[in-house]
Subunit: 449 residues, 2 copies
């Protein structure tokens, strides 16, 4: 199969470039048509790969693309999930080449969506296409469910799965939207943090006020905001919201040992990210902090005058975007309520506060002894000559929990990205070697099932 | 003179509208040509008023407009200062009518610069024009110095005054860039707070990082910024920067009594500004907080993702614009150094901090017993039938201190604005009654000298 992949490599890359050039930013209303265009492109790619009953299913948001091939009688059925939408490109001035003009440099393809998730998703499409073209059939039954709202927390996919349980029934769900542990170390993720996001707005006055005339005598919305945001963490990196840690398991010695065994080089990490120091919750290592501990991060702040130079005002309004990563038995709704309570309790005098919830997703834990996961591990080992690790990932894929629960099937998180590939950041890229080896690995996997 | 003003009122208003329609925003490089246009317009207005030796003097920034009439032998010379530049218009969507399309509504003229300072400055130009046209001469010698950089802290006017001490020598400096105490209560300001402004930037990493992969394990520039900004004030509204209050006088009982006598209605103020509560330094009244106490205000913050929806990043960079109002013997440079020391001392782990200073201006106190001020008070009383108050203003006009010191002349701050006229805010306006009565007051004043 390696030869076949090599033979088609350039052709596949050209197709991937075309896919990546569509700015399918799901969070931006301005890109609605682009997202639709990417959906149609995905559907065409599935048809071209020999999938049947391919549909672009409209939803209240962006469409879901479905396709299937169900002629492997008495063989298991796998459902492959991926997403064709991407993160916003900003800050666009930090990209070395434009985010939606894909280029290949040093064995990597650079573009928004290269690794998250168009590139990884395309591995699956090309794997089934190759098998179909070589043999005219697949060794297992395959269903594709590809959405365009992963980056906005999949508001319409959950209802779709709930409404189509029979159509989507399967023996395992396969998703490639995670990463290797390290350059040469494949990984099958066995734990995902849950997620919760919200927007906090503070206002004090009807309009910005002259800081000379009113400064010192009226509440300042930014002062109120920074006091409130600063109160979310204590000085040891712990989250200071009462009730936040409810449901967070104390890590056992076994878990800590398992995590300590994962590859991690502090100096290299700092250097690679341009950090002077790592930082986080006291008493935990970097891998623990990012893998099994919950977080509360402010993702953005805005308020007052932001132009060139200065404007001496007391700003009337300020706001922040906040998101949490959740673990163990943390309940997103209860965590949200704890934060809401904290905000009401500590809101400074004269500040009017509003809190708006965006997304919530439960944390997920997956048993790695499952045969579908063990088969995946074996496929990786065949192609990469190294046994994959089973790390606990810090990220969230909100729909994973829904797939597992509603379809009652194990979820196999076969990542082909690398942690260094700048996902959600400027200069996102994907290693072409993992694209081609990924196709080989998937072909091998489907045969093993 | 009242009749003459009434006769020309409509014509003057049309001219003022033309003046206000020039978007002479000095802080914006995009408006450099507009600022120049306003300078030329100002010079033409001076020529038209009969001023001689009118010049548009280029500087490293925006031009200074000069004009004079020096034929009143053995009479005093007054120097009239004003500024033809204006504040930025944003947030532009909160303006009821466009900021640079002046309109008259309910006896007020609405536009950016209406009260600060084009409208007030125009009073002086029209007063001398009227006197010149009626009598062919003025009762005193007059020099005009009108700058285009007041809203960016007059970087080039100080050197200009220093370099032209003979040319600018005078018996008094008259400035109309302040306010009445209240609608029917004229005021001559006898104290101005000093000013200091700076920009604080914090960065942590080379790029924004995925909050799932790295969240909880790396420093977050916004967390660092809000901790630092929150540390500037304690929970009683006092500024918690060591050494900040050095040189701030403890108010005497006399001063407190004088301030307490100024008109102030807390409920009306709150209602007018849309505030739930006033807020400030414990142990001081609103009028004290805004008149004789120093402040440290965050005027703007920015950082991370600010678009629609959400982006789950750990932001690499965040920043704030900060300004202070200073009083008494506070030295702007020492206050800046105290803040710099505070920032270095309390900067959170992993945060790289940079601080850039914008402006500094010394506080000013003026003796109200000066005859030029007493004559001004008498002119107000003749026109408004009420004796003006001598309040201590919270604002800063950095150049006032320089005028007083370098030219060794008393500064007469004859305001014609109202505190409610939204200066530096959307829907800035100027009461036409004070425009016309202002012209009458100035004519009376020049005669009294």
């Amino acid at each position: 199969m390696k030869k076949a992949v090599e033979l088609h490599k350039d052709e596949y890359l050209e197709e991937l470039k075309e896919y990546l050039s569509i700015p399918s930013i799901s969070s931006s209303p301005d890109h609605k048509e682009d997202v639709k265009k990417a959906a149609v492109w995905t559907a065409d790619a599935l048809k071209n790969a020999g999938m049947e009953n391919v549909e672009v299913v409209p939803t209240e948001g962006h469409p879901i693309v479905y396709g299937e091939w169900l002629h492997a009688e008495d063989k298991p059925t796998i459902l492959i999930y991926g997403h064709y939408d991407v993160q916003p490109e900003d800050p666009v001035d930090l990209w070395e080449t434009p985010p939606f003009e894909p280029v290949v440099r040093d064995g990597k393809i650079y573009a928004r969506g290269a690794t998250d998730d168009k590139g990884q998703l395309f591995i699956h499409i090309k794997a089934v296409e190759l098998l179909m073209k070589e043999k005219g059939e697949l060794p297992v039954n395959v269903k594709f469910v590809i959405e365009g709202e992963e980056e906005v927390a999949s508001p319409n996919l959950g209802p779709f799965i709930n409404d189509h349980q029979d159509k989507l029934s399967c023996d395992a769900v396969v998703i490639s939207d995670t990463s290797f542990s390290d350059k040469n170390q494949p990984a099958i993720c066995t734990s995902l943090r849950g997620a919760l996001a919200m927007e906090l707005t503070i206002d004090t006055a009807d309009s910005d006020l002259h800081s000379g005339t009113y400064g010192g005598g009226v509440p300042n919305s930014i002062h109120a905001l920074v006091k409130l945001l600063a109160s979310f963490h204590d000085n040891n990196g712990k989250i200071a919201v009462e009730g936040f840690y409810e449901g967070v398991p104390e890590p056992t010695e076994d878990v800590r040992r398992e995590i300590a065994a994962l590859p991690f080089d502090e100096e290299e990490t700092k250097k690679g990210l341009g950090l002077d120091a790592l930082y986080g919750e006291e008493g935990f290592s970097f891998k623990e902090r990012t893998g099994i501990r919950p977080t509360l991060e402010v993702n953005g702040i805005t308020g007052g005058f932001q132009g060139e130079g200065l404007k001496t005002i007391v700003p009337k309004e300020a706001g922040a975007k906040i998101s949490c990563r959740l673990v163990g038995e943390q309940d997103p709704q209860r965590v949200y309520e704890a934060i809401e309570h904290h905000v009401r309790k500590y809101k400074p005098q004269g500040a009017r506060v509003s809190l708006q919830q965006y997304i919530k997703a439960d944390p997920v834990a997956i048993d790695s002894s499952n045969p579908f996961i063990q088969a995946a591990a074996s496929a990786y080992e065949d192609i990469y000559q190294v046994r994959p690790l089973f790390p606990k990932e810090g990220g969230s894929i909100p729909i994973v929990e829904v797939f597992g629960r509603v379809l009652d099937a194990p979820v196999v998180l076969m990542g082909f990205g690398l942690p260094s590939e700048n996902l959600h950041a400027p200069n996102e890229h994907f290693h072409i070697e993992n694209f081609t080896k990924g196709i080989e690995t998937m072909c091998r996997y489907l045969h093993k099932l």
